[in-house]
Subunit: 301 residues, 2 copies
């Protein structure tokens, strides 16, 4: 890492206009505008469609095996973001895994509170299975709230008796909406992006009165037995650090194969900044290697 790279990014994150606790309509507009300003690489083709009644965007890049799917869940504290805004990172992740990206436009709070997001991700997954994509050819990837939603979806699939995908990768998952991690205060000074206050506001929007310990909202409280191999990446400069540590611990206690990587000094979802930070590309490569290693036996149905 170059310290200069990190200093530039931290300054951008600290002083930029994005604020998780800000006015939602304004923040949504800003978020979409900022991400829309970054063009996709010329060789990415995208198609907006729907699966199981839920809007999705499919991304493809040259040379992929289109029989394989990266099932991608974007971040945004359950109130921000969209499949389209996530395409830069999502299509990069899918390309590195040699697969199509299926980026889910799950419904957002507060208009559509918990468990709308989980209902949508399960519906899309079911539609993929119904379309003949084997579970063993689907790999989940999610970031931030989408990381928590990734684990929640796996738990929901188990509850519904559906097969688990081949593997799951989560970047800085928000997996405890009851907000009990020590890092919420311990890392407050060094996290340039998120605050406990902002997260508390958005947890309220999403939960809409539901128990913050609901396992489909806060999967660190779930029985994780039977989940597929799990790869967790987090920065050490994150108020959400403990969500990753506790998710890894819970998965370990429940006999889930789990790999955790803590990237020192990195901020929330540093993987999104591969144009600025060497670590972002290295982390994306490590997570893609994990996904690739866990595509199930090619001879399986």
């Amino acid at each position: 890492m170059s310290k200069e790279q990190l200093a530039v990014l931290e300054d951008m994150l600290r002083n930029g206009p994005l604020d998780i606790a800000g006015d939602l309509a304004q923040q949504r507009e800003l978020f979409e505008a900022m991400l829309a300003a970054i063009p996709l690489p010329g060789d990415v083709t995208t198609k907006a469609t729907e699966l199981g009644g839920v809007p999705v965007v499919i991304s493809e890049t040259p040379g992929i095996d289109s029989g394989k799917v990266v099932f991608y869940l974007h971040g945004g504290a359950y109130v921000l973001g969209s499949a389209t805004a996530a395409l830069g990172l999502a299509s990069d992740v899918a390309r590195r895994a040699g697969a199509r990206g299926v980026v889910v436009d799950y419904r957002l709070a507060p208009e559509h509170p918990f468990p709308a997001a989980v209902d949508d991700t399960v519906a899309v997954y079911k539609a993929l299975l119904d379309d003949g994509v084997p579970a063993s050819k689907i790999a989940f990837v999610g970031e931030s709230a989408g990381g928590g939603l990734t684990i929640a979806t796996l738990v929901a699939l188990k509850q519904a008796g559906l097969p688990q995908p081949a593997s799951a990768v989560v970047f800085s998952p928000w997996a405890d909406l009851s907000l009990t991690g020590q890092s919420l205060t311990g890392k407050a000074d060094v996290d340039p992006s998120l605050t406990a206050e902002g997260l508390r506001l958005r947890a309220g929007d999403y939960l809409n009165g539901a128990d913050p310990h609901s396992v489909l909202a806060s999967p660190i409280y779930a029985d994780l037995t039977g989940l597929p191999p799990l790869h967790i990446q987090v920065g050490s400069h994150e108020v959400l650090l403990d969500d990753s540590l506790r998710l890894a611990a819970r998965a370990a206690a429940h006999d889930v194969p789990v790999e955790l990587q803590v990237w020192p000094y990195m901020p929330h979802i540093f993987q999104a900044f591969s144009a600025l930070l060497d670590e972002a590309g290295e982390a994306l490569q490590a997570s893609a290697a994990f996904t690739t290693r866990h595509w199930a036996d090619e001879t399986q149905p």
Copy 2:
């Protein structure tokens, strides 16, 4: 994994004569005899010598870069084991990392209580530096008590103002001699090797009245800031599981680059059973890849 492989190993561990709580003279004899019964591969050459006044065994295999050193610390609850008995695993680890093995015969308790083991490992490390081996060409690897001792040694090096090695790998480290991990009871039924009672007995032998929270005995309580990249492997069927989880969490909180792998259903130091278990070879390969990735820049002194 084949379930049969694991069943055979578990049966062997559960019903074999090794017992961490057993009579020490008898257990030491058994331990050495069992390990001596397994011949080293024919291409391993070993040399017993001393470094810094401490006995060590050097292992070499064809094709290694003898300028690189795997600094290896064996297990045995601080009261059992030896460099010679550890050579099978230690020389395999060093071979996979493309380095010489320097297997440290640190003094054992109860004859030589804490901090004798740490004094010995620091003395050997200093002797390597004095011999002209750059810290950047030394990678630490330790198992069980040797894993805890690995981290304790890194903390002692920091306290002494000595340079840190390139990286450290620990297999199922025993890093909390105050024995407060929940897995000590939570995993008691599924751990075929170790018990809280046995560990408590041996912690007493080693500590000899010292505070079990001493950071050089229980490095999960240490300030880990400044430690080199750390790779932790642990099985989910271990009473010591939580030592690994808490070590990873502590390292993360202190901005240490850390990677944790939890291998489901695996017992304590499953890496030693590569003849029986597919996972053992896979885990050794993953840890060697980590060590190799972190040899410092070849142009450094």
